[in-house]
């Protein structure tokens, strides 16, 4: 029994315990709390990386809680009775995304949050949200899926609304929480239906049983509705701009990771759980919603006057690209034309790229608010004179997001365009148009906030920790853009393959044989 065997559960347990111990550390001294947060964060990232290395070199990792050995998933009657954690390439890939965003957010938060304004509680909730996301990505059991979903909901809404002395954050948090509770209810009903039908909660076991009966389809509808709400896809996106716009910068980027966790949960349901009973209709539905999300969000971004809300709509539009790509993959699932696989790879790759560039943009918004005391584009201007690093990072993030070569957003968007084109040229035209509009929006925002004559500023200077947080993401944006082939081959392709053909491997790893 070495420590390495227990990596999957440690990745969840360490941030969870760290979150509850953090306020105690703060009682002793605030330096000890910062040190504790860094140690917990570093340990979590190390666990995630170790897990990812195991998954990408050896294969699917299964961990059974409470069993004599971690791989004993089946009970005495050959029936899965224990709670299992399963990490396949897709799950490990998503865990890596949360490691990137979580790590950057943690470093940034140390310099960004103010001691008098709830720094301890904010960091504690952040670790809780991180634990919830990791649980959602690694669980192999439908009920824990629901529990971790709710854990992320509560922690996320606590983070959105923790600046309770202002009037708008509680409003945004309330709106978001109602949507999340509703989504959670739908998922719980779906879990109850599936349990009533098959008497099990294990995802692999359920996946082997689901055959597409009426009840199965009702449950699928409920799961799709609940998880799309969580992912913030149009028409269930109304909470997202408020939440992203009102949250602190370090919270906003964890919310991006949280949204992506919802999206991952959706992929897990349609590709793995319902992979055996897949019908193209679901794929067309997801594709349509994806195209709608891209278009509506970009059009809404055009009219925003607040920098935070503008980036928020940009973030929602990127969710649309991922849905679009996954929808195309789903339409062709089981039929097997090559463009479906490329679409899925593009979508999965875009998740990582979106995390890096939207994350970078949100951190820049936080830096702008810190420097100028406001995020209103009508009063901002001339920040480039003093905030050289922030303006550089903002420009980098905006160009990458809009898909300008040689940055990372271009690499994944090109894969999406090429493959979606083979399903429907109109969708590609829409996606390209939206990208161009997005570039225009961000050029306007850059000009409004950073260019122009120097203005007197009310805010405080940047701290080194904030710069370090931004630099982490900027390095990823540039590195992934320079060597996309390498990243696709070693990280993205295995992850996409886990959805595309990996269902059998997943089932075999959990159920044996």
């Amino acid at each position: 029994m070495s420590l390495a065997m227990h990596v999957p559960i440690l990745a969840i347990a360490v941030p969870l315990l760290g979150a509850f111990a953090l306020p105690l550390m703060a009682k002793v001294h605030h330096r000890l709390r910062d040190l504790w947060a860094l140690v917990v964060g570093a340990f979590t990232v190390a666990m995630i990386v170790t897990l990812a290395v195991q998954v990408f070199t050896v294969g699917v990792q299964v961990y059974t809680l409470g069993a004599d050995t971690p791989d004993a998933t089946l009970g005495p009657q050959g029936f899965p009775i224990r709670i299992t954690l399963v990490a396949d390439a897709m799950g490990a890939f998503m865990a890596l995304i949360s490691a990137l965003l979580g790590g950057a957010a943690l470093i940034y938060a140390l310099g960004f949050l103010e001691e008098s304004k709830g720094k301890t509680l904010s960091m504690s909730l952040f670790l809780l949200l991180w634990a919830g996301m990791l649980g959602l990505k690694l669980t192999g059991d439908m009920f824990n899926f629901f529990v971790f979903l709710e854990l992320t909901s509560v922690a996320a809404c606590g983070l959105i609304g923790y600046r309770a002395w202002e009037s708008r954050p509680p409003e945004a948090a309330f709106k978001t929480l109602v949507m999340f509770i509703l989504g959670g209810l739908m998922v719980l009903l779906a879990v109850a239906i599936l349990y009533g039908e098959y008497g099990a909660l294990n995802m692999a076991f359920l996946s082997a049983q689901i055959g597409g009966s009426l009840l199965d389809r009702v449950a699928l509808g409920l799961l799709l509705g609940g998880l799309l709400m969580k992912a913030g896809a149009v028409p269930m996106h109304m909470w997202a701009p408020d939440a992203y716009g009102e949250a602190d910068a370090n919270t906003a980027i964890v919310l991006v990771a949280n949204t992506q966790a919802g999206l991952y949960a959706l992929f897990r349901v349609v590709f793995t759980l319902y992979g055996g009973a897949a019908t193209p209709e679901v794929g067309y539905l997801v594709t349509t919603l994806g195209a709608l999300t891209v278009l509506v969000a970009v059009l809404m971004a055009v009219v925003q006057t607040n920098l935070g809300r503008l980036v928020a709509y940009g973030a929602i539009s990127q969710i649309g690209y991922m849905l679009l790509a996954a929808g195309v993959g789903l339409v062709t699932l089981g039929v097997g034309p090559e463009f479906g696989r490329v679409a899925l790879q593009g979508g999965v790759f875009h998740m990582f790229n979106d995390a890096a560039c939207i994350g970078l943009l949100f951190l820049c918004v936080g830096a702008v608010r810190r420097a100028a005391g406001s995020g209103d584009l009508r009063s901002l201007g001339g920040l480039a004179h003093t905030e050289k690093w922030t303006s550089g990072f903002f420009l980098l993030g905006a160009l990458a997001l809009a898909g300008i070569p040689p940055l990372n957003g271009f690499a994944s968007k090109l894969m999406i365009y090429q493959s979606v084109f083979q399903l429907s040229p109109i969708l590609t035209a829409l996606a390209v148009l939206a990208s161009i509009l997005l570039l225009a929006v961000f050029v306007r925002a850059f000009q409004g906030a950073f260019l122009g004559p120097r203005q007197s500023m009310s805010g405080a200077p940047l701290s080194p920790a904030m710069l370090a947080g931004m630099a982490v993401l900027a390095v990823v944006v540039i590195a992934f853009g320079l060597v996309p082939d390498l990243v696709v081959r070693h990280l993205v392709a295995p992850a996409a393959e886990a959805l595309w053909t990996g269902r059998d491997v997943y089932l075999a790893a959990v159920l044996g044989g």
Partner: protein, 115 residues
């Protein structure tokens, strides 16, 4: 048969809650609707576990089919989760009421349009 009736009633209850959530304009009413809806989903989970003529799932109570203990365990967890989310949303209602002196959604929305 009782299981099916209970399941249908649970779904009706959830629908009623959702109806309240959508139609009522007051935040407290909306939360009440949400709470009724979560009650419905919890009842649904209990109804799903129903087995006709089953004894309690305790070892030593004799032969015959035993009721499934797992859904009860799940329901306990779900109740705690709903409690937590409801409590948190009530906190936000209190904060909003203190700041804006209303719980009416149209009135809460109005200042934003003017901004």
């Amino acid at each position: 048969m009782e299981g099916l009736t209970a399941a249908l009633m649970a779904v009706a209850l959830a629908g009623l809650g959702l109806w309240t959530l959508v139609r009522r304009r007051n935040l407290i009413w909306k939360l009440l609707g949400l709470n009724v809806a979560s009650g419905g989903s919890i009842l649904f989970l209990v109804a799903v576990a129903h087995r006709p003529h089953a004894r309690p799932p305790i070892i030593g109570l004799g032969p015959g089919p035993a009721a499934d203990p797992l859904p009860q365990a799940l329901v306990l967890t779900a109740i705690v989760i709903h409690f937590a989310t409801l409590a948190l949303s009530l906190v936000y209602v209190i904060l909003l009421t203190e700041r804006r002196h209303t719980q009416d959604v149209p009135k809460l929305e109005r200042p934003r349009r003017r901004r």
